[in-house]
Amino acid sequence: MNTGTIRQILLITDGCSNQGEDPVQVSTMIADKGVAVNVIGVLDDDKSEEPTGLSEVNEIAQSGGGISRIVYADVLSETVQTVTRQAMTQTIQGFVSKELKEIFGKETDETDLPPEERGEVQRVVEDLGETVDLQVLILVDTSASMQNKMEAVKDAIDDFILSLQARTGNHYYSIFQFPAKNQVVKELLPWTNDGAKVAKVFPKLAAGGITPTGAALKQVVRSFQNVPNSAEWRDDSDDIIDSSYGTSQ
């Protein structure tokens, strides 16, 4: 069986956007292109309650067909793993539900199946999750308030790349930051599958400035066109994961 490609944006931010386009709207558009938008909101250590600005985090992910989490910096690493994996599972499950619908001729959710048969579906989902090709664009909010969280962000990215490398399927990742000097977003690392390259990016990850989340999202999604076309990197038309999935939820 030919497995397809899953595309995700992983946005790491600490609060609400304060400039430019509405990120929730942009996120919907991105989902339409078959790219899931996952968002991790990073809390300040001294804040015990969720600041209202972070509700945007959930809204962006919801409209982007992705997963969101709001966490303290010290659990950022594990959260990045969980979010990516869950979003991937969600995308695959969306595809599987569609297949089930074709088989049974009606809207069929995994939970409509008896628990016994569900185990088989789960095995298929897990196999796909392990073998499918994965493209993750990491978009880091480096506005001024993120300053004391950058070390945790670096650790989390470093750790994430390690997990990507453990997968059987191929992967490509790229790293962008926003805002940057004289521009909304800046590409820190073009698409690569080389885990060693990530370290070179870290010195450049410095914080300062405003938070144009919507505009940044809009710009980075174009970058999926630039994923290298290696021989093992299959053509879009072969995707078993329907690219229109994001809208069918």
């Binding site: 959930n58 869950q86 939970t111 628990p115 569900r118 185990g119 453990a166 059987t168």
Partner: protein
């Protein structure tokens, strides 16, 4: 869509959970634990205590049920908790939640047990645990999320039992679930692909974390050698631990034998020490205790 913080499900005491498919009714007693994958409750089925795991994410239930079924294939003493039931329940506004029911193990986490009963328990516990891991590895899977909280000492049988199968992963795959401190990737001492040495690394960190001088969660440095050096109560085990941390044991049985050898050696050392009356309570084998007990018994009879 899963956008909540955790896929936990809140159930109340005395709440009845009736399965949609198998029609069994469980009465909730109390919450046992809550985690990133769901909630576990102590429940009653007729007069029998059981553990019920419920999650907003049905794939969590399916995955763990698959893992528990796989563990069942092991002959003899069961590796994980026995799986008793898998079902769905409709709660509140027609929301369907998947759950599964397993044997309730009335146990104490290994770290709590060792704190109460003494470091000498590490020897019998390691023997049992490494045998179990070896059996699991023979099935082509690793446990993955090995940590003291997931290793229970059964109060009655004093046997070690593994719980929480969320991390069980087939060889060669990427580890499904792990906990930072017990993950070799975190310490930069290996990758996250499933192979027996991944579990043995995690168990070595478990051993280190039992040392009263070690607060593994507060370690800022990622230099494992520093951690070993501060684990002064475990000195006799340092060589074995170091071996496991550097992936030099290929199988759980090798590590088991190595620990057993340390135990034997300790036994001899402490025997000579007792006779010289400068007995030092450092790290005692169970054998030692047995010897002392016999000595006392003999004394009284005499």
């Amino acid at each position: 869509m899963t956008s909540s913080i955790h896929p936990t499900v809140r159930l109340n005491k005395y709440q009845k959970i009736r399965g949609k498919w198998n029609k069994r009714t469980y009465t909730i007693v109390r919450l046992i634990g809550e985690g990133a994958r769901g909630s576990i409750y102590l429940a009653l089925l007729s007069q029998q205590y059981v553990a019920l795991k419920i999650s907003q994410d049905s794939s969590v239930v399916s995955a763990e049920v698959n893992a528990l079924k796989m563990l069942k294939k092991v002959q003899g003493q069961s590796l994980g908790p026995l799986l008793l039931d898998v079902d769905d329940v409709v709660l509140g506004h027609q929301t369907v939640y998947a759950f599964y029911v397993m044997e309730y193990i009335d146990g104490v986490p290994l770290n709590t047990w060792v704190k109460q009963e003494g470091l000498q328990w590490l020897f019998p516990a390691s023997q049992q645990l490494l045998s179990q891991l070896h059996q699991l590895h023979n099935l082509g899977h690793i446990f993955g999320d090995l940590k003291p909280e997931n290793i229970l000492v059964d109060r009655k049988s004093k046997q070690v039992r593994l719980v929480d199968v969320g991390g069980v992963t087939p060889f060669g795959r990427s580890i499904r679930e792990y906990t930072t401190w017990y993950d070799r990737g975190y310490w930069k001492l290996g990758d996250r692909r499933a192979e027996p040495s991944y579990d043995l690394f995690a168990y070595a960190v478990c051993l280190l974390s039992m040392d009263p001088h070690i607060k593994i969660q507060q370690m800022k440095s990622k230099d494992i050698e520093k951690v070993i050096q501060s684990a002064t109560s475990l000195k006799p085990l340092h060589a074995v631990i170091r071996h496991a941390l550097h992936g030099e044991f290929d199988t759980a049985v090798e590590m088991k034998h190595a620990i057993e050898q340390v135990n034997q050696k300790q036994l001899k050392v402490s025997q000579t020490k007792t006779s010289k009356s400068n007995f030092k309570m450092e790290l005692m084998g169970v054998g030692t205790i047995v010897t002392i007990h016999f000595a006392l018994l003999y004394y009284f009879i005499w």
